[in-house]
């Protein structure tokens, strides 16, 4: 029995005349979904699997399917006659494009067998000459298969051979996804054995010497990974090789191929290579070794492969980097890329090739760790990191501990080699990520997007909402680097069962009680405008941490990301006051941070909403007043004449009373602002500071920390609040009374939140807050006369589920944005969450909720 071994990821092209048994063969050895058949495609486009007129569109479909499968790194079998080189050419091209291995399996049971089989099938009455032609063409082409680009070619020459064959699949060498580490990954060594020695010791390897030479035993369970360029330039290339070869052999280390290894191998094999770029040193040192050792080195180098994909696909290691489309695949082009990276074809002023910054475009989920290009610092950029810190040029040798993502390095003991290009930072102020983040990509925010959040599964952003957000974001929002968070919308409490209330706290309490929350906090809802404040201790911090170089120490923005104040000086003054208050309250020290992000309410309402008040709210009040005044005067006259007006007069009086209350409902939220002293700022969430998103704390913690700001600066106001144990009826009743008092005194109402910032029920996060608005405040929302019985009755029929779902999704995205920011993820990763919130805000939800 013959066994055919094929790579686990490959394009398998079946070649054989009509009737040679390709479909049967494919069925026997492959999953139905792995097989793309030309007959099936004919059927798809023309309702008839034998319609030869549909050949062209059928093959277009076939190629499309093949392309999509290869793109997704899936083994694909093409079931078509494929007898002409012409037919195979386009398939080979697709395989090349997606770095798939190519396998040709020729099925040749003999011409007569094919003809006989076709005769037995009523749908294939096309005569023997067809099979004869196909067989002849096929045979003529067989010699050229290797030249066409097939790497694995198997010919099965009889029915018996075809029936007896079995197929095994082999994993690609680059695919080490089942190796989960942990790993210690070391950058370019270039013969710097002494530095390697001390770095290994620093990493906890037991380094010593025995009869075979130097050894290094990894700490339990760990494995060493080398990104290549072990050799050349430095003083002790043979020692480095000896240790690495020993560790690889013992299964203690993995090593990928660097460009210097490739060139050294050529030299070892006696090829005519120029002894430049440090090869001379290696040659000189290796010439002092035994021929056996040199042969051993050559064998080792020959066995190195382009890259490894490790840890379930979460980590990729290559010498000069590896693109997402190449990972865990194998091809000559991949090998070239992994050794040299991408170059633009130009050379710089030092005569070195200009490298194309592939990492700037990298969007893959696997972390890519590489070397090759000496950098002053190892820095993350779009989930990639270059560990070549130029040890041989007098820099340092750097290791990355994975999955801890800690960097360790030892300085070079000396400059072993003068670099052609000075080893200096291109821009010392901004990190590589921030440099790259200078520009956001349209493709990263447009179209339908699925955002993964750690709190609430996936959030879907639809293309039409993203399109709306793009306009707001690009025309009105603050600099995206400041925009690390947007506040979520908040759902109101369920509609009250009390006859003359639309909202009342009881429903909010039962919402949480039913979901197993035992303690909630009620916070007074300030009637101002929501704002987010980001503040840094200094402009230098703003530059280092946010990449903002304007000299500002922070920003104040609205819930749609716009500047809160048009006046930059006022903004700066407020931020400086906050900075001082943070300082005096000792919060900078306690939180070990030099920046913070706060959720606040800024009062008066008129400070931000004056246009809205002047153009909408106040005129409505004026129109209502004028209208009803004129009407009641006219009615009075008619009544004096004795006209029977029914209940009209009483009704107008009732409406006038409601309108008067409307007039006072909003007026008290307005006062004139002539200076900063007329403002009131009530912070209620201390959202995040360096290294921490404070949503893991209780609201009491937030209230307590933020009240300390109010102690030091009268610009800031503590928020009145009440802790309520939901099991205690007296406490619940007291909270309702408190709400009634607050709202009767003109307060907007209150916000009820679970004691913990994030609360769960059945392992699902629940509403982080519910608002309960006062009876009179609601006039601003539902109109002056909303509480007349016939209106209230209808307004009570309102659905809240969309609003609640929206609040949950936005909350998850805000939480995610902050986490990504403190994890120092690329700006685009933070931006996509914030952008998502803005997009969700354009979903159609009753704005009165």
């Amino acid at each position: 029995m013959k066994t055919i071994s094929i790579p686990e990821f490959a394009l398998v092209v079946l070649i054989g005349a009509s009737g040679s048994g390709k479909s049967t063969f494919a069925r026997q050895h492959f999953k139905p979904t792995e097989v793309v058949s030309s007959d099936v495609c004919r059927g798809l486009v023309a309702d008839n699997e034998n319609d030869q007129a549909a050949t062209k569109p059928a093959f277009e479909v076939l190629h499309y399917l093949v392309e999509k499968r290869l793109e997704g790194r899936r083994l694909t079998v093409v079931d078509a006659t494929n007898v002409r080189a012409e037919d195979r050419k386009s398939l080979i091209a697709l395989a090349k494009k997606y770095y798939a291995r190519t396998v040709a399996i020729i099925l040749n049971p003999g011409q007569s067998v094919c003809i006989e089989r076709n005769l037995a099938r009523p749908d294939r009455q096309f005569g023997a000459h067809v099979v004869q032609n196909q067989t002849r063409t096929m045979k003529q082409g067989l010699f050229g298969l290797a030249r066409e680009g097939f790497k694995h070619i198997y010919e099965l020459r009889s029915e018996a051979e075809i029936n007896a064959v079995s197929i095994t699949r082999q994993r690609l060498w680059t695919d080490l996804r089942d190796e989960t580490g942990p790993f210690d990954i070391i950058g370019d060594i270039h013969g710097c054995f002494d530095e390697l020695h001390s770095l290994l010791q620093n990493l906890g390897y037991q380094v010593g010497e025995d009869a075979e030479g130097v050894y290094a035993l990894p700490p339990a369970g760990r494995k060493l990974v080398l990104v290549g360029d072990l050799v050349d330039r430095g003083p002790k290339t043979p020692q480095v090789l000896r240790l690495v070869m020993r560790m690889v052999k013992a299964g203690q280390a993995l090593c990928v191929l660097g460009n210097h290894e490739a060139k050294l191998l050529k030299w070892l094999r006696g090829k005519d290579v120029k002894l430049s770029h440090g090869l001379a040193q290696s040659a000189e040192q290796l010439n002092q070794e035994t021929p056996e050792f040199r042969a051993e080195v050559a064998a080792f180098l020959d066995g190195l492969i382009s890259h490894y994909v490790l840890d379930g696909g979460r980590l990729a290691v290559a010498h000069a980097g590896v693109k997402e489309s190449m990972q865990a695949r194998a091809a000559g082009a991949i090998k070239q890329f992994c050794m040299y990276g991408e170059t633009t074809g130009e050379t710089d002023e030092f005569g070195l090739p200009v490298r194309y910054p592939w990492a700037m475009d990298y969007r893959g989920s696997a972390k890519v760790v590489y070397g090759h290009t000496p950098m002053p610092q190892a820095e993350w950029l779009n989930n990639t990191i270059c560990l070549d810190t130029g040890c041989v040029f007098g820099g340092k040798l750097t290791a990355l501990r994975y999955p801890e993502l800690e960097l360790k390095s030892v300085p070079a003991q000396q400059v072993y080699c003068e670099p052609v290009r000075p080893l200096e930072a291109l821009n010392v102020n901004l990190s590589a990520q921030q440099e790259d983040d200078d520009i956001l990509h349209f493709a990263d925010v447009s179209g339908k997007r699925l955002l993964e959040t750690r709190l609430h599964r996936q959030v879907t952003i639809y293309a039409e909402n993203a399109a709306v957000a793009l306009e707001v974001m690009s025309r009105f929002a603050v600099n995206p680097r400041w925009l690390v968070y947007l506040p979520p919308t908040m759902a109101p409490t369920s509609t009250s069962s009390k006859a003359d209330y639309l909202e009342y706290p009881s429903e909010a309490f039962s919402y949480y009680a039913q979901r197993g929350v035992s303690e909630v906090i009620c916070e007074e809802k300030h009637m101002g405008s929501r704002a987010v404040m980001v503040v840094c201790r200094t402009a230098e911090v703003a530059q280092q941490r946010f990449g903002v170089t304007s000299g500002e120490i922070g920003v104040i923005y609205t819930r749609t990301g716009r500047h809160f104040f048009n006046d930059a000086k006022l903004t700066a003054a407020i931020l400086e006051r906050l900075n001082q208050a943070m300082q005096q309250a000792g919060l900078w020290e306690e939180l070990h941070t030099d920046w913070a992000c706060l959720d606040v309410e800024i009062m008066p309402w008129s400070a931000k909403a004056s246009a809205l008040i002047r153009e909408q709210y106040a005129p409505v009040g004026a129109a209502a007043r004028l209208s009803l005044q004129a009407l009641s005067q006219a009615l009075q006259k008619a009544a004096q004449r004795g006209v029977d007006l029914g209940t009209l007069t009483e009704r107008v009086a009732e409406r006038s009373a409601a309108v008067d209350q409307y007039g006072t409902a909003w007026a008290q939220y307005c006062w004139e602002v002539t200076s900063i002293e007329d403002l009131k700022i009530a912070p209620f969430h201390l959202l995040a500071s360096e290294g921490a998103v404070h949503m893991d704390k209780t609201h009491t913690w937030h209230m307590t920390q933020l009240a300390r700001l109010a102690e030091h600066d009268r610009l800031f106001h503590a928020t009145a609040h009440l802790i309520v144990n939901l099991q205690d009826e007296a406490q619940v009743a007291a909270a309702c009374t408190w709400w009634e008092q607050l709202t009767q005194q003109g307060s907007e109402g209150m916000v009820i939140k679970p004691a913990n910032f994030i609360a769960y029920s059945n392992e699902q996060p629940i509403q982080p807050a519910l608002k309960c608005r006062g009876k009179d405040y609601l006039r601003i929302i539902y109109g002056p006369e909303y509480d007349l019985p016939e209106n209230l009755e209808r307004l009570k029929k309102r659905g809240l589920s969309r609003k609640q779902s929206l609040a949950m999704r936005e909350f998850s995205l805000g939480h995610e944005a902050l986490h990504r920011f403190i994890d120092k993820e690329p700006l685009r990763r933070v931006h996509e969450c914030v952008f998502g919130i803005l997009a969700l805000e354009s979903e159609a939800v009753d704005p009165r909720l």
Binding site: D438, I439, L440, H441, F442, A443, V445, S446, A467, V468, L470, E471, S474, R475, N479, S550, R614, Q616, Y617, A618, P619, V620, G621, A622, A623, A624, R625, L626, S627, L628, A630, L631, Q633, A634, L635, Q636, K637, A638, R641, G642, V643, D644, L645, G646, L648, G663, A667, E672, I780, I781, Y782, G783, E785, Y786, N791, R794, L795, D846, P847, R848
Partner: protein, 468 residues
């Protein structure tokens, strides 16, 4: 709101016969959004007053009736519609006083055909920003106009005046004529019709205005406002009213329209916009551009001009505003363009501050009156998107010359030309920016002006032409 109609023609109570409403009863009719109530506050031989008020259902107004085409006013959930004099009143008048509108009276036909002294009051009538409008509208029609203003807040004068007035009109005319005037001019005063404006409205306007609109000095304003600036309808109305000067209004959204109109009006005498487009098109032609990217294409004015030149075989307009792109699509008639033409042009949504792979591969890129709509601190992103990443052989940028603003008589000192302009540059500022950007990204730049040129202040518009 309250509408009253009084007469002193004796016996004044004959008004009841003209209106077909008995003076001693309360009358009520139902309307789609509520009801109209009518009664007579006074009814003597000397003076008789008819009053009409509307009780609109505020819940339904906001939510919509659930019927097709009635989306409600949810965007402005608190609004003055239940209280102010508006197009709801004209609908109510039409329904309540249908016979009077036709000029017939069952019992007093002679009186209906006789001019009689009439006084009309309307309160509260919104006159946003056009306090003199009632006079301009009613005086030419033979009314004496009296206006009473009201404070915004009842008790506080610091808030100033409200946008509402009580309007009193006195005249001696036929009742039918007065009703027709009111029918057309109330919505014109309010400028916010609550129903769909279509061909039927155009016919209504021409019918009700048949006798007087053509001679009215504010004919154009009345037509535009009555038809809510719907360009096609307005033009047809004006043509049918034999207006020689065709008008240049575009079907924009109200808000943009107002802003654009402001800038348009400012620059209009100079016919600047056309000149600007012609200049840019000429520059592109001279440089042999074939694939042109119009960033910030807005409503597609330049695209339309480019489409007329065969040299440009690929024309793409990009704007961040979906609304603008929709208008551009209509302006360019993309849906009916021949296939050959259609292949040359595309419209994309995109933003100037986001890097966009699609921007590569053009040999010319234009930014006509665009950069000034960007916050200064976002210009660095635009510079990289345009000069570094798109990097075409030719870049053309136009922007206002701030110095020239002094020459606009209607523009207050220090004000910018458009409400959305984030900055406007002097010639020196524009030059400094252009030269820095050109040096950074390896371009040569030539600067000049477009439009009227003042020996000291320079041209209205500045233009920078960047070449590689």
């Amino acid at each position: 709101m309250l509408f009253t109609l009084s007469t002193t023609h004796q016996p004044a109570t004959d008004l009841g016969f003209l209106l077909h409403k008995h003076p001693d009863r309360l009358h009520e009719i139902s309307l789609p959004q509520g009801k109209a109530l009518m009664f007579y506050p006074e009814a003597t031989q000397e003076r008789c007053t008819f009053a009409l008020t509307l009780e609109l259902d505020p819940v339904q107004l906001v939510r919509g009736s659930g019927q097709k085409g009635d989306a409600g006013l949810l965007d402005e959930y608190v609004n003055d519609r239940p209280y102010a004099v508006s197009s709801f009143l004209t609908v109510a008048l039409g329904r309540a006083l249908g016979t009077a509108f036709t000029g017939r009276s069952k019992d007093r036909q002679v009186l209906a055909e006789t001019p009689i002294p009439l006084e009309v009051t309307l309160t509260p009538l919104p006159v946003r920003g056009a306090e003199d409008l009632p006079e301009r509208l009613f005086k030419p029609l033979g009314y004496e106009v009296q206006i009473e203003r009201h404070p915004l807040l009842a008790a506080q004068s610091t808030w100033g005046e409200s946008p509402y007035i009580t309007l009193t009109l006195t005249t001696t005319q036929r009742l039918q004529t007065v009703l027709e005037h009111l029918f057309v001019l109330i919505p014109v005063l309010d400028n916010r019709k609550h129903y769909y404006i279509g061909k039927a409205e155009l016919e209504k306007l021409l019918r009700k205005g048949e006798a007087w609109l053509q001679q009215h000095p504010e004919k154009r304003l009345i037509t535009e406002r009555y038809l809510k600036y719907r360009k096609v309808l307005v033009q047809e109305a004006l043509v049918r009213l034999a207006d020689e000067a065709a008008i240049e209004l575009e079907a924009s959204s109200d808000c943009d329209l107002k802003q654009n109109l402001a800038e348009f009006e400012l620059e209009k005498p100079l016919n600047l916009n056309e000149l600007r487009l012609a200049t840019v098109t000429q520059v592109l032609l001279e440089h042999g551009a074939e694939r042109v990217l119009d960033l910030g294409c807005g409503e597609g004015r330049l695209l339309k001009s480019l489409l007329q030149q065969g040299q440009f075989n690929r024309i793409v307009g990009v704007d961040v505003s979906l609304r603008a792109l929709e208008i551009a699509e209509r302006r360019l008639h993309l849906d009916t363009l021949s296939e050959k033409q259609r292949e040359r042009i595309e419209l994309w949504q995109g933003a100037l501050t986001y890097r966009d792979q699609r921007f590569a591969g053009f040999n010319a890129l234009v930014l006509v009156e665009v950069i000034e709509h960007l916050e200064p601190d976002r210009l660095d992103a635009l510079e990289r998107v345009v000069f570094e990443f798109a990097h075409p052989e030719l870049i053309v940028i136009t922007t206002p010359n701030r110095e020239f603003n002094a020459r606009f008589p209607n523009l207050a000192n220090g004000k910018l030309r458009h409400a959305d302009h984030r900055f406007e540059w002097t010639r020196a500022e524009f030059q400094a920016w252009c030269e820095r950007v050109a040096t950074t990204y390896g371009y040569q730049v030539a600067l000049s002006g477009i439009g009227e040129t003042d020996p000291e202040l320079g041209s209205v518009t500045q233009i920078g032409v960047f070449t590689l």
